[in-house]
Amino acid sequence: MWAVATLVFFMLRAVPGDPMLAMVFDTGDPAAADEMRRDFGLDQPVYVQYVKYFLQVMQGNLGTSIYGSRVPVSRIVAEAFPRTMSLAVLSFLLATLIAVPAGLISALKKHTPIDHGVTLVAFIGLSMPDFWLAILLIIVFAAQLNWLPAVGYVPLAQGFWPWFSHLILPTIAIGTPFAAIIARMIRSSMLEVLKSDFMRVSRSKGLLEKRLLLVHAFPNALIPVVTVMGIALALLMAGTVVVENVFAIKGLGRVLIQGILNRDYPVVQGAILVVSAIFVFSNLLVDALYTVIDPRIRYD
């Protein structure tokens, strides 16, 4: 995380183009730009800026937005965080609900029409850009049928349904491609397990098929699946970045993209820092989950 923050900090400053000049372009007054630069400390040498930034971040201060109103970045990020998390958690649940049964059935009914059907649908899901699915959903359910709101976000505090109804379409848009990836991986890891020696032994012991699959095969297929979930969680974050922009949900993704488009350094840095933190945390979570699923894995 520190490495990413540092890299981004220096790379942003290495780019040609001065955000201050761009901002005062309309007034055409270079003195105003100088003044603003002093205000934000951008007139100091880069290493001084870096040390200052780093010390501030350690104290939880991410600086203030330099574009438009000078809102503290920590407040922008704090407002965006629950939106992105709501979206991420719901999409994750939806994807798991679709993918686990689909992957298992497809593995157990290998090379049957059901398997081929699931595989084809998964392929389409993998190939469909999530922002396109988002637009299709808006066309059908918001513009034509008027069933659900097309854009925006309502906090959970204002009631469950208003919150949930705004998140249904984005959740489907993010969750579906993600389900396709997980389903394919569950299928292949389950097939691997079904071929293994201990399954043959269990089967020759005469165990019931149901018990065999649920007690012996599935838990063993879970290890690679959890790894996949970890990777997929990262992909899901990438999905939220784009889909938030389609549905005008001011989550971390939209904050990041708006920051980039406005050349708002502190906001871009803050958003990248938080997004990176989510990745690091989800990787840790996956590692911790391993020890729960497979007691043989121990971290010293």
Partner: protein, 299 residues
Amino acid sequence: MAEATVNEPLNSEDTYRRPSHVQLWRRQLLRDKKALVGSIILTLLVLCAVFAYWITPYDPNAMDFDMIMRPSWAHLLGTDDLGRDLLSRLIYGARVSLFVGFSTVAISLVAGVALGVAAGFFGGWIDTIIMRYIDLQWAFPNFIIAVYLVAVFGTGLSNVIIAISLAFVDDFARIARGMVLTIREEQYVAAARTLGASNNRIMWRHILPNSMAPLIVQATISVSYAILAEAGLSFLGLGVQASTPTWGLILAESRSFISRAWWLGVFPGFSIMITVLSINFLGDALRDVLDVKEVKEPG
């Protein structure tokens, strides 16, 4: 005399030549339905992109008073808010998508393999430095890295290509390094070394050809993800200039007319999907034929 007949060379017609690996792969690939469908669609798309100038019914940027027209015989896929023909714009959009898809993967393949082979072959501090960087990149999805990099470099075609290429480097570097570490221990490499082969020769003649299979599969799948990444960046306004018709950009523009013009939202996305699907079919078939297990879904 009898011995002489035994040693006589056989007629060329009678000789049985064992088919090479490449021939075997090709045969298997031709039998695979997914590969067949994928390559037919992809070939058609590439032809469309190459001959865009001759096959498009209208100039992709020519404006007209027929604004927001439904699909009709005059405009097969309808027109946009400026009266531009959607079909012509989509055909030109294929150029950008395919060009970005193939060029980024070519760049990241070469760069990634160079890094991976160097890390695996030399080991020591070179390996440590390269792998630290690769691990850092590995922790993030490629699309997010591409967004970070565009944030730094700025938009435009060449910056988008650089950003996406850099974002995909780690996938190839990891595979190449892994293959080098495995192959380095093989007896034929030890034999070549005993015979006095140089590092260079071992790398080019022995290690690279033997690590081709997983790289080919990863490259194919990466093309589809690079196309998705380009479309995503264009869609967010971080892609190629607004004057160039790209699928992502046309989709982004369609959002303002979502309630009036469904065709503007449906067809560009369908073009992206069908292109990515055809490449994914091909990649999956290659994965089966070349028997490659470890491929990262780059996302």
